[in-house]
Symmetry: C2
């Protein structure tokens, strides 16, 4: 267990790394014609500073560094003179900005897809405006290409998550329910340093520590925008394990939390007590094949939609089309960007307009739900590199792992 640094400097990234990220943000702001913005979404604040605080960061391509307006905690400092201001109410921001001689300019941005209506109206009113420009797609674009430091943190997640996934067979006991098995995996992940938190964009997305599916429960359609569903343990959180006893020969799909440092990898592996059926082995092999082909296609300039189409083509050629990404419900994608949040850009979907870039980090999850067998498929997280091939950072072995 590490003990965290009690450094009070608000920018934990250091200046060079923050400048790298700021230049990505500024470039995306300029493309969108946004002259200044207040950021306050926790994921964006973490991206910008390497820590989460409650408050706002004012960013503008006209400024060298952000100006921080912090509500909590009250003990942070900033090495840049005049850049940190403790506030109680956002209305204090306008005065401070004015005293600093800063002009927000033509187009003032807020994360309009992330912050509540009332708050957006209140924040825009601080500058005498109505909400006008949307920083959410800007930040999504900036964050979709990771810096080397971000990639290092993602690799760390991949290593730790893979270590735990390889140990999962030792956590199984005969007669366990899916929930009981999941709880032991949660504990193993937490002891390895997993933070538990599952950061996602979208206020209606909810999950706790991930998804473990076995038996018919795998065919319960998803309530959320996840690839797989499951009834969950309670109708208040309808996703994942539902209390099904794990039967010999029944595939167990494990897709659990890979957040070890504020970034997260996404990995799914298959487990089974006893012998999996030939159909299950086949579906798992096809999933591996699609992952490998997707990875082989991952070079800068490739269309995200083309990877989805190739995945569907392989599934169809292997006779698994009607089970691809679900059976009673079909998810409309086969992969997604990942980083601070689990649902970032680019999206591997038929109508995606995303074009791959070096530094994208993409989870590929070709999964099948086969009636009478259950959910089968793996998932890997890849780094798109300037040079072929992409780098797989979820390194646990990909075949069915035996629980006995």
């Amino acid at each position: 267990m590490r003990t965290v640094s009690h450094d009070y400097e608000i920018n934990l990234l250091g200046n060079d790394e923050q400048q790298r990220r700021l230049s990505r943000i500024y470039s995306a702001m300029r493309s969108a014609g946004i002259t200044s913005a207040l950021l306050r979404d926790n994921a964006d604040i973490y991206y910008l500073t390497g820590r989460v605080f409650r408050g706002f960061a004012y960013v503008s391509p006209a400024l060298e560094t952000p100006i921080y307006f912090v509500r909590r905690p009250n003990h942070l400092t900033c090495s840049t003179p005049g850049a940190l201001h403790l506030i109680k109410r956002p209305e204090e921001i306008a005065d401070i900005i004015e005293k600093l001689g800063i002009d927000p300019g033509e187009s003032f941005g807020l994360e309009l897809d992330a912050i509540p209506y009332s708050e957006a109206v209140r924040l825009a009113a601080v500058f005498g405006r109505a909400p006008e420009a949307n920083m959410w797609p800007v930040m999504r674009k900036a964050r979709s290409v990771k810096t080397e430091r971000e990639l290092a943190m993602l690799r760390e997640c991949g290593v730790k998550q893979s270590l735990v996934y390889e140990r999962i067979p030792h956590l199984y006991r005969e007669g366990m329910t899916d929930i009981e098995f999941q709880i032991e995996i949660e504990r193993a992940l937490r002891l390895e340093g997993c933070l538990g938190q599952f950061r996602m964009a979208g206020a209606d997305m909810e999950i706790f520590m991930g998804n473990l599916l076995t038996g018919e429960n795998g065919d319960t359609p998803s309530t959320y925008d996840f690839a797989m569903g499951g009834a969950g343990a309670d109708p208040s959180l309808p996703v994942g394990a539902d209390g099904t006893v794990i039967r010999p020969g029944a595939p167990v799909m494990v897709d659990m939390n890979g957040n070890f440092n504020g970034y997260m990898t996404d990995m799914t592996r298959m487990y089974v007590a006893g012998e999996p059926s030939a159909e299950a082995i086949h579906a798992c092999k096809v999933s591996q094949k699609i992952c490998a082909e997707a990875a082989a296609m991952m070079i800068p300039g490739v269309k995200a939609a083309d990877i989805y189409n190739r995945a569907l083509e392989i599934a169809t050629a292997e006779g698994l089309e009607k089970y691809f990404m679900g059976h009673r419900y079909h998810a409309g994608f086969v992969g997604h960007g990942i980083g601070i949040e689990v649902n970032e850009s680019p999206v591997l979907a038929p109508r995606s307009r995303d074009i791959l870039q070096a530094g994208n980090v993409i989870a590929v999850e070709p999964k099948f739900v086969i009636p009478g067998i259950g959910a089968v498929g793996i998932e890997n997280t890849y780094i798109v590199r300037a040079e072929w091939p992409a780098e797989r950072i979820t390194t646990a072995r990909e075949d069915f792992m035996r629980l006995d």
Copy 2:
């Protein structure tokens, strides 16, 4: 472990219970002058139907039952003919409402404090409007007085959480860090049926499974609107345990997740390996005394602010004023409503305008942060009854529990 019902009826509450809740919602809508509304926040959807789905519920005092517009999952049914519509885009709603001959009326409401700006604008545009009326305070008001069924679910949470809290001493091993100890408590809670999810209002609120504090870490100011802080295991989630080794004599404050069924109780208890100091015992006793006095004051018609003021008065009389609700940072409340979310109405704070009503469920958490000693204090959840006294539903014993 229970296995969940695979009932597909969208309203899991039954008609009588749903009508009880609808009449609360309609009454609050009438007071606010709102003629119709679309609800879509997960907590509100769960309140209205007993399950979470992705989509919208159209409610209006002019209608007997809600009309459901469901995006996911795609397998739900409704016993009320014509009340459930599967949709892909919210723009489909206007047509359906019109075909049903329904007029949204003068004032159309949305949960403007909960849903993102872009979504609110899009949903209002469905009816050719701009966002105008705010359903968030309306739902907050409706949900602040629980039905008997909700109270039964909260009592169930209290029983289960108390059972686990009484077992916590058996989970301790000498030399553990706070994080390692917390992980064992998480597992015990999960095995008892805890769902893990921590539902909170406010997009910037984050926590994983609760807060365990020992040593100087208790005096790390909070980033979030929680009573206590803690540095957390990582700057991406700055709350709670930070890797501090649990020392003999050092108080350990445990404030973990009480969500066992979509509702949650809030309970804090103190633990110690070896002998606690006289100051720690005193602070714990004062906290118990404040809880008891607060509970004794809880009758319908009492001002929430008066309870806060009485709590502060006791703390002051006991010489603990400067440690009350924090030391380096002081939280501005001593208690809060709780139910589906951890931060509901009423709020026990000096400037609160809330007046207690029968059926309120209130967590009271008088806590102290004492330099050199750490965070000390307990927390109970109470049901306000028409007849005195209030009912304590977090029943674990309140004194320091010994870890050895």
